[in-house]
């Protein structure tokens, strides 16, 4: 599903973000990427959606080699990967429902389909009563739910979250993680880059630990840190 093969990413001249990284994630997996700041988690996520190019190595997503995806076809690639960010990245001038609808409009979905699908998905993330609220009227947790709804509304095979709970309090974070877990159970591959130690320890999913651009640990049903 997702494969990094000998991927190196160097920023500027000598800031190495990833070094000869090999990683394979299968369909339907739930994977935590953990590690300190600057360990390369975000770089990995940004490479996956082709927000930038690796310095060396090859990346495959949904069977496509990213280096062969032309600029013009990046939108199609991104429609296959739902993205959730630490800062939510909602469109401030659109209501919760419109934000979710936008992700469907870019794919040219019919209005009728959008009208039925958006309320369903907002109901799924527990925001059926706040469809017409603008992002600034929503709490952080609610905004993140909207952004998850937006990422998932087209049912992409992959959902990537970069520090989805980074701006949220622990109780809210639990709700967000449960939501991601539910999405994973529908068969969607979920990759979560996080600092959230507690969450990782509770969920008991595959944990890939990064440090200075290298994978230092990769454990199924792992925890944030090495267990003694």
């Amino acid at each position: 599903m997702i494969r990094f093969s000998n991927v190196t990413k160097v920023y500027g001249r000598d800031t190495v973000a990833l070094e000869r990284l090999n990683l394979e994630i299968d369909q339907g997996e739930f994977v935590f990427l953990v590690g300190p700041s600057g360990s390369g988690k975000s770089t990995l996520v940004r490479l996956m959606i082709k927000e930038m190019e690796p310095s060396a190595g090859a990346i495959f997503v949904n069977g496509t080699k990213l280096s062969s995806v032309s600029r013009r076809h990046i939108p199609q690639l991104r429609r296959g990967i739902g993205c959730v960010f630490q800062d939510f990245k909602l469109l401030p001038n659109k209501t919760a429902a419109e934000n979710v609808a936008y992700a469907m409009e870019v794919t040219g979905q019919r209005r009728r389909v959008i009208k039925t699908k958006v309320p369903q998905i907002l109901d799924l993330v527990g925001l059926s009563g706040k469809m017409d609220k603008f992002p600034e009227m929503l709490s952080g947790g609610e905004q993140q739910r909207v952004s998850i709804a937006r990422a998932f509304v087209s049912q992409p095979p992959i959902l990537v979250a970069d520090e989805p709970t980074g701006n949220l309090d622990p109780n809210t974070s639990v709700g967000i993680m449960q939501l991601l877990h539910r999405i994973n159970r529908t068969g969607t591959t979920v990759v979560v880059a996080t600092h959230d130690r507690e969450m990782v320890d509770v969920m008991r999913k595959r944990v890939v630990a990064l440090d200075e651009g290298r994978i230092v640990r990769d454990k199924v049903k792992g925890a944030y840190a090495d267990e003694v």
Binding site: P75, R78, E105, V106, R150
Partner: protein, 294 residues
């Protein structure tokens, strides 16, 4: 992918409403630039109209003091035979005095002591082409009428030709400069409004919107703003033209300014098309340049 015009138009109008100040700036800039361009067009068409009518009016006048009726008739017949001549008009002494009085109607002190005979009879020879005045004058001199008794504004025409051609070229140059300035101003206004929304555009791209999808509402927005600014400016220009023609009829009676020197419809069209084109091209280029960067 289907092209959903309703959605894009909705987005464009929403953008205009939410960024009202920026929209007003863009519309105002377009309005001013198109207004200046329109006034330039107006001035140049009126100048061309005046020149045209002055040149059309060119005639050679032969004064015939002390010559008899027969001689006048003979010259009239001869002149009518020349190919440069369009028509010949005989003016008697009485008619000369009458038209003089007419011209200075409001200053009777100028003509009250004039006697019949002070103003000589003359022949007014209308030419087919003002450039032929010289050759006609030559022929008249050959007939025995010396330079003194001929009035043909050859020098005036020459001066008029050179001055007005400079003037018209100057006006065209100024118009082109204004056009360039307006394109720069407007695309700058658009770029500012796009820069203010760069985060939004980045998010749109992250959700998988294609460049075209992001761009279309912006281009429609530029089109609407251009149409609004240019439309208002074009109407203002036409209104100014009416005011000017009206005013000149009363105050500039001796200048042949004609209402039909300006083709109102074509000026309206030109201005609106230019305004819309600037809006569309400006926003297209600004968004495209921005999209390349992310």
């Amino acid at each position: 992918m289907r092209f959903n015009l309703g959605f894009f138009l909705g987005e464009a109008f929403k953008n205009i409403r939410l960024n009202l100040l920026m929209s007003i700036t863009a519309v105002t800039t377009t309005f001013i630039c198109i207004l200046v361009l329109g006034v330039g067009l107006l001035v140049s068409s009126h100048v061309e109209g005046v020149i045209g009518s002055v040149r059309e009016d060119v005639s050679v006048e032969v004064f015939m003091p002390g010559r008899g009726q027969e001689e006048m008739a003979a010259l009239e017949e001869k002149a009518k035979g020349w190919e440069e001549v369009a028509s010949v008009n005989r003016v008697s002494e009485d008619e000369a005095l009458a038209s003089f009085k007419d011209t200075f109607e409001e200053q009777p002190e100028i003509y009250e002591n004039l006697d019949r005979g002070v103003l000589p009879a003359s022949l007014q020879i209308q030419l087919t082409d003002p450039d032929l005045a010289n050759s006609v004058a030559g022929k008249l001199e050959a007939e025995g009428y010396d330079e003194e008794n001929l009035s043909y504004p050859q020098q005036t025409i020459e001066r008029l030709n050179s001055v007005t051609s400079y003037m018209i070229w100057g006006l065209y140059a100024a118009t082109v400069l204004f056009l360039i300035a307006s394109v720069l101003l407007i695309s700058n206004a658009i770029r500012l409004s796009i820069f203010a929304r760069r985060k939004e555009i980045e998010v749109m791209k992250l959700v998988g919107a294609s460049d075209g999808f992001v761009r279309t509402p912006f281009v429609l927005e530029g089109l609407i703003q251009g149409l609004l600014g240019a439309g208002l400016a074009a109407l203002t220009v036409v209104w100014l033209n009416f005011l000017f023609v009206d005013w000149s009829r009363q105050e500039l009676t001796f200048v042949p300014i004609a209402a039909d020197a300006v083709n109102t419809v074509s000026i309206l069209l030109i201005l609106i098309v230019v305004g819309v084109a600037i809006g569309v091209v400006g926003s297209f280029l600004s968004v495209t340049r921005f999209l390349r960067k992310i």
